[in-house]
Symmetry: C2
Subunit: 346 residues, 2 copies
């Protein structure tokens, strides 16, 4: 519990003994996890209070995600950063202010303790940035070949203030679709990092927490209807989910899609569609038309929204379907991804 | 979202496409998970309210655990049952009433869909029994050999009513230690189920939710000091943690330890100590002496506490150390487990 305590654990590798519930496990947890996260107590559960949660009309938001990204470290982030940002973002896109996170680790025997330390440090940094606390956790160890280095599962609890109702079914024809930044950076960065495509690139994952950006947008555009972070399945899947739930059509403009030339290049070489590439710091949101400019300006005032862009509108035609006006004046249906483009992207 | 919807998914095996964020994943989630758990909405986060949480002085309890038990199905339970009970118990031993759970699945490519269905059904059954709702979840798929069938991570949110403070540092000399049932059944059942010990036995895991039992005990013995579920590391580790945190000694009586003859037999054959064998429905709690009988009676009034038994007392001697009076009149130190007895016990 003392950040300056002398490390007790030799920086070797994790063994099965570290998962057994005894002294070795306690040492690993104390040294690698609780010395950084500093939970309030050593009880089995965190005990928490928040006055925001007791305000009349406030709702508690609760979400979870497992992360299995391969490789666990990549340009722009690592599995710890993605785990914290992903859970913060799942809360934020629903209008919740993230409060507390849990973190559970499944570690493969032989995993470097130094790697765990880097992951934990990166989680602490992102939690700090997002203004959340990692308050409880768990560690399990499995034999070699029964996991791949380390998997991280984060859950998050946040508070939705009274009166907010961001939900896909609130989107109606005429609403404007906005993204906060360039598309596909995370997917392209992971692809390049795997090395098996013989691609070399400087693309970094967009992995970032979007809690502050969402608060800025909601302040500036109080009638924002819905938001989705465009992770697995990319912007195309997020838009399809919204179109189906809202029972409206969505039309996007190919020319308006913010894309990095490097990502465009990777997609052209490999025959991938950037609309389906995963993002880890990119969301799409819908606002009524009169609030669109304010929402874009609010996004651009934050570091994560510098490249914010209107990409389309909700329409009453073809409910449940997303279409794209191409730069040659044609139109094509942007369907939901059927299988997968890249396994273990997050 | 309709429990009677026709299954859309052929009962084959999970493929990487089921983890890709597209249509295949949506079908798997709809068909196997949400059709049973029936979350309130399809947003990325569950939105919840509880009047108990807004009571003055109430605290929110938050906990998480990953489960990697091998085999995933065993006499008396499966990884789904253990995941729900384990998280319910982590909340309950702190005096929290469990409210909501999240469930995140890491699935190995090739995992039988029928196995997933059985796990999910068993989670739904246990959640029902415990009076909690599984309100949000996640699914990831990894390639063959990158996980072992399926890992489940559950997080739980509960409410600790005003005035309750069950914590290890509340235990003081004179307090009585009580267990709710026989020791080591889970560890022995897993050992036998693995088959590699050439053991055959009828031992079933004690896997059970202890929320109702804890409420009965707190009603009957309102000054209960602390409770711990004796999972990995067994009763010995739970007692050591309490002794160290409370800075008192603990003395237990070998003769008073409730043990099934079959478990005793397995331990004798394999040279294991039942005090270190894992339990999944057994807790140890401390009450002031004048409430000990009421606490035992309250436990015995519940199905999970039929074999409740006083096993020892907290003492001012040898703070931080657990000792056992053996049946031959001697004494020995019950140390914390150093490594592990059995990997992947939970």
């Amino acid at each position: 519990m003392n950040m300056h305590a002398k490390p007790k654990l030799r920086d070797g590798v994790v063994t099965l003994a570290h998962g057994g519930g005894g002294k070795a496990m306690r040492d690993l947890i104390d040294d690698v996890f609780t010395s950084v996260f500093q939970p309030a107590s050593m009880e089995d559960q965190a005990r928490l209070t928040s006055t925001a949660l007791t305000e009349p009309g406030a709702q508690l938001a609760f979400t979870t995600d497992s992360f299995v990204v391969d490789p666990v470290e990549f340009p722009g982030g690592d599995i710890g950063k993605i785990a914290v940002c992903g859970t913060v973002n799942d809360l934020a896109v629903g209008g919740a202010k993230p409060l507390w996170l849990s973190a559970a680790f499944i570690i493969e025997e032989g995993c470097d303790v130094a790697l765990l330390r880097r992951i934990v440090a990166s989680m602490a940094t992102e939690a700090d940035k997002a203004g959340v606390r990692i308050v409880t956790g768990d560690t399990k160890v499995v034999g070699r070949g029964s996991a791949d280095k380390v998997f991280v599962t984060t859950s998050g609890v946040g508070v939705i203030p009274a009166g907010r109702n961001l939900a896909a079914d609130q989107v109606r024809p005429g609403d404007v679709a906005i993204v906060n930044g360039v598309l596909g950076d995370h997917g392209a960065a992971i692809l390049a990092a795997r090395g098996d495509m013989a691609l070399s690139s400087d693309i970094e994952s967009d992995c970032a927490g979007l809690g502050h950006l969402m608060e800025a947008v909601i302040d500036a555009a109080p009638n924002v209807r819905a938001a989705r972070d465009a992770t697995r399945g990319g912007v195309a899947s997020a838009l399809n989910e919204i179109a189906q739930t809202a029972k409206c059509g969505i039309v996007i403009d190919e020319d308006s899609l913010p894309l990095r030339p490097e990502v465009k290049g990777v997609c052209e070489i490999l025959g991938l569609d950037p609309l389906y590439l995963a993002n880890e710091g990119t969301l799409v949101l819908f606002v009524p038309p009169h609030e669109a400019d304010a929402a874009v300006a609010a996004m651009r005032s934050t570091p994560e929204g510098r490249n914010a862009q209107i990409i389309g509108t909700a329409v009453s035609d073809h409910p449940g379907t997303v279409t794209m006006r191409t730069r040659f004046g044609g139109g094509r249906i942007v369907d939901m991804l059927v299988g997968e483009q890249l396994p273990r992207i997050c």
